[in-house]
């Protein structure tokens, strides 16, 4: 049976709510929830409602060291991946498939700060929703200017006119947008740190987080349009 003989010692069950108990699909023993059954070592399916931090066996903190995140991700794959259970029983294969799918999804979301922030909002029962449609006031001026430049560039190109000067302007605008983006990412990290330190009430921090994320989303869309036009 392809069960891992020595599961990582640190997997004590951070993936389950504190004090949770489960009964093993393999040996039937009831035991405190762990990734591998303490009695028979069989891989257990992760709880349906585990959040991304739990799945990656990380504390629920927004500031994440990318190297630690990657280490947890790889270590978990080394004991969860379907390749390791190919010749094992059906239930172990199912558990492996489900756990790995959850692990991949969690990693994809947590490794990117913007996605991590968006996921945090959903954990607060919030979402960007309608805020996303409004131009963030700080960005309004630059957004309109760049959109105008892009339209002009498209018009000139449609007439097969000389686009050289306009392209230069758009390249300059791109540099400014990238600069703003990095400032916003910095603000995002600061907001994350305040959440972790419980520095401020949740409502204020949520409002701030939403403002930063909508500005980033807006910039992201605009930058994609700029890249598309410059790539053409």
């Amino acid at each position: 049976m392809a069960l891992i003989s020595t599961p990582p010692a640190e997997r004590e069950g951070a993936m389950w709510p504190a004090g949770a108990r489960v009964s093993c699909w393999h040996c039937g023993a009831e035991h405190p929830a762990r990734l591998f059954c303490p009695a028979c070592n069989a891989l257990q399916p992760l709880p349906e409602r585990a959040d991304y931090f739990q799945v990656l066996d990380l504390p629920r903190r927004l500031v994440i060291d990318p190297e630690l995140l990657q280490k947890h991700y790889y270590d978990l794959h080394r004991c969860l991946h379907p390749d390791l259970y190919q010749t094992g029983p059906q239930a172990a294969r199912q558990a492996s498939l489900r756990n790995t799918a959850a692990l991949n999804r969690a990693y994809r979301s947590l490794r990117d700060p913007v996605d991590r922030g968006l996921y945090w909002l959903t954990l607060q029962g919030e979402s960007l929703g309608a805020d996303n449609k409004r131009v963030p006031p700080d960005l309004a001026a630059v957004v309109f200017e760049v959109q105008e430049q892009l339209e002009e560039l498209r018009a000139v190109r449609n007439r097969n006119g000389a686009a050289q000067a306009l392209v230069g302007e758009v390249v300059e605008a791109r540099a400014e947008l990238l600069e703003r983006q990095s400032v916003l990412l910095q603000q995002l990290e600061e907001n994350f740190a305040r959440w972790d330190a419980a520095d401020g009430d949740a409502a204020t921090l949520t409002r701030e987080l939403k403002a930063i994320l909508s500005a980033l989303a807006y910039l992201g869309t605009l930058l994609r349009d700029v890249e598309k036009e410059l790539g053409a």
Binding site: H77, Q86, L97, R98, A101, Y107
Partner: protein, 601 residues
């Protein structure tokens, strides 16, 4: 523990490999020629006779429409994806639906043709290792979509194999290169084969191979170059003979030979015989490179995209690996070097490296290789059709697999008991520009006011890159029944049916093979006998006896009783033994006499 084999089911050639007891990777060679490659060509010589490999490839020029090569290009496709060039090369059974070839009054789907190739590889292992192949890993182009992957898996099942895993070709190649011996690094694998192109970027970390991004073109490869070069030859022929499938087929074969020669030579000459017309065309490497430059150039945009999706610049890469026969071309090597700014790895044979990598993955799955783990990605975004034919994405391309996404469906009218949805793969905004995978129908929904039912559909892409859809009623928690209609594939029932048929015919398959072998042996002996009779001193009785046996054998060869053919072949062997003896004696005597003359002189 039962051995798992690794198979590279290629457009041009297929290979089967394994890791031996010392974990050395070995390709199983052809028992007769010793070649590791099996040409991926299937020829239906007659209604009962199927041959695969080198001899089938030779048949292409004589029986082009009953000889199928490059079938991989048509795996998982519908007739609307078939090109004009395809129509020239193959006889299709119908104008719509999934691709079906029309051969000797029967129809065959591409997975059935591929199954013949897989069976031949199986036979090769039986002959060389005396082992039965049951479990395999089969490689597919990384850029293969769901339908193409399903078709490959179906081919395996039809060949009586348990397909343990489909592995992406560039990823397999990186495993074979043993790059994990390097602790970590970023690599790009450029894989240009006979019919497909893939580019993958990977991150290596202590035995973990994490694919970051992949891109490609499943209809781009050496075949396209051959067709281009063949056109040079064909344009020298009178218009009416240019279209003959056998002439086209010969021209393509000549073009392939020329292309390969130009890897080392600066120029070559191609020849073509079409009936009484004989044409020649010389080709220099420079001219060839100009001719196919745009084909090679088509690989550039996917490379850039794969780098961009991985968030990499060419200078971030530690290694570039070349895979596929077409990467032997100097033009391709130069272009890759220019693109990535470094000399690519070419130590391993680019035609064997994928099969060897499949054998590594087979070792991982069987639990023998414990330090290597592949984390691959889905190459194309997955979505469903929404209002106005817009594709709503539910899984982004380059997401690590296995992965799941959930979607809630509901009803639009009161008491509606079924909900349909249509799944697509691709990167475009509108579904009409993407590839349809399948239509799904949720059935047996409880009749409730519109919008009340909440049906949670789970889209799971498994480690093979294949989509699995399940659904449940969120309110009751009950499993929801779901019907699947693949757009360009076979349903499970169809595969089962084909399997049953092939088991019924398995006996006939063996008989057909024995018959072919018996006929071949008989033909060889008859040829030698006729030659001997023509110039050997034989008295009347002996001659009459031999001639009678020859006549009997010739008649038997028209029939299908291979045992009878065998018996008569043995008989002819017996009656011609004195003849052979006498011919031998005669030649010795002649030799001796000549010697004596020389002595005297």
């Amino acid at each position: 523990m039962e051995r798992i084999f690794g198979i590279d089911l290629g457009t041009t050639n297929s290979l089967i490999a394994y890791a031996d007891e010392d974990d050395t990777l070995r390709v199983v060679p052809d028992p007769e020629t010793g070649s590791p490659l099996l040409p991926s060509v299937v020829s239906f010589v007659g209604p009962e006779e199927v041959i695969v490999g080198t001899r089938a490839k030779e048949m292409a020029a004589h029986q082009p429409l009953t000889t199928i090569s490059s079938v991989k290009r048509l795996m998982g496709l519908g007739m609307e994806h078939v090109t004009a060039a395809d129509r020239q090369q193959y006889a299709f059974a119908a104008d719509e639906g999934i691709v079906r070839f029309q051969i000797h009054g029967r129809t065959y789907t591409p997975p059935e043709i591929s199954a013949f190739i897989l069976k031949e590889l199986k036979r090769r292992v039986a002959l060389v290792l005396g082992e039965e192949v049951r479990k395999v890993v089969i490689t597919v182009p990384a850029y293969f979509n769901d339908s193409q992957r399903q078709a490959t898996r179906d081919a395996g099942r039809l060949a009586g194999l348990e397909v343990m895993r489909l592995v992406n070709e560039p990823t397999a190649a990186s495993l074979a290169y043993g790059l994990h011996k390097k602790n970590q690094g970023l690599i790009a694998v450029y894989d240009l084969g006979g019919g497909t192109f893939d580019i993958s970027t990977l991150k290596l970390h202590e035995g973990i191979f994490e694919v970051l991004a992949t891109n490609g073109d499943t209809r781009l490869g050496g075949d396209d170059m051959d067709r281009r070069v063949a056109a040079l030859l064909l344009e020298q022929l009178p218009a009416e003979s240019r279209r003959h499938p056998d002439v086209v087929s010969q021209a393509v074969a000549a073009a392939e030979v020329a292309k390969i020669r130009l890897t080392d030579a600066q120029s070559t000459v191609m020849e073509l015989h079409a009936g009484s017309v004989h044409v020649q065309r010389s080709l220099t490497r420079i001219e060839f490179e100009t001719l196919v430059a745009d084909i090679v150039e088509r690989t550039v945009a996917p490379c850039r995209q794969a780098l961009k999706d991985a968030g990499l610049n060419p200078s971030d890469l530690d290694e570039v690996v070349l895979v596929g026969g077409s990467t032997r071309m100097p033009l391709v090597r130069r272009r890759v070097e220019e693109l990535f700014g470094r000399k690519p790895h070419t130590e391993l044979n680019p035609e064997e490296v994928v099969a060897l990598g499949a054998a590594v993955q087979a070792s991982v799955l069987s639990g023998r290789e414990k330090d290597t783990l592949l984390l691959d990605v889905v190459p194309l975004s997955l979505g469903i059709e929404t209002m106005g034919g817009v594709m709503e994405r539910i899984l982004e391309r380059n997401t690590t697999i296995p992965v799941t996404a959930k979607q809630i469906f509901t009803t639009f009218v009161d008491n509606q008991t079924a909900v349909d949805f249509h799944v697509f793969q691709g990167e475009r905004e509108l579904v009409k520009d993407n590839r349809s995978l399948a239509r799904f129908k949720l059935r047996g929904i409880e009749p409730l006011p519109a919008g009340m039912p909440r049906l949670e559909v789970t889209f799971m892409i498994d480690a093979n890159g294949i989509l699995n859809v399940t659904a449940r009623d969120e309110r009751t928690g009950r499993e929801q029944s779901i019907d699947v209609k693949p757009s360009y594939g076979l349903t499970d029932e169809q595969v089962e049916h084909m399997l049953e048929e092939s088991i019924d015919y398995a006996e006939e398959d063996v008989s057909a093979r024995l018959l072919i072998e018996a006929r071949n042996d008989a033909e060889g002996l008859l040829h030698a006998t006729r030659k001997a009779l023509a110039n050997a001193p034989l008295d009347g009785d002996e001659r009459a006896g031999v001639e009678a046996t020859v006549a009997q054998l010739e008649t038997a060869m028209q029939g299908t009783d291979y045992n009878h053919i065998r018996d008569l072949t043995d008989e002819l062997n017996r009656v011609t033994t004195p003849l052979a003896q006498r011919i031998m004696d005669a030649s010795i005597k002649e030799a001796l006499e000549r010697k004596r003359v020389e002595d005297v002189a």
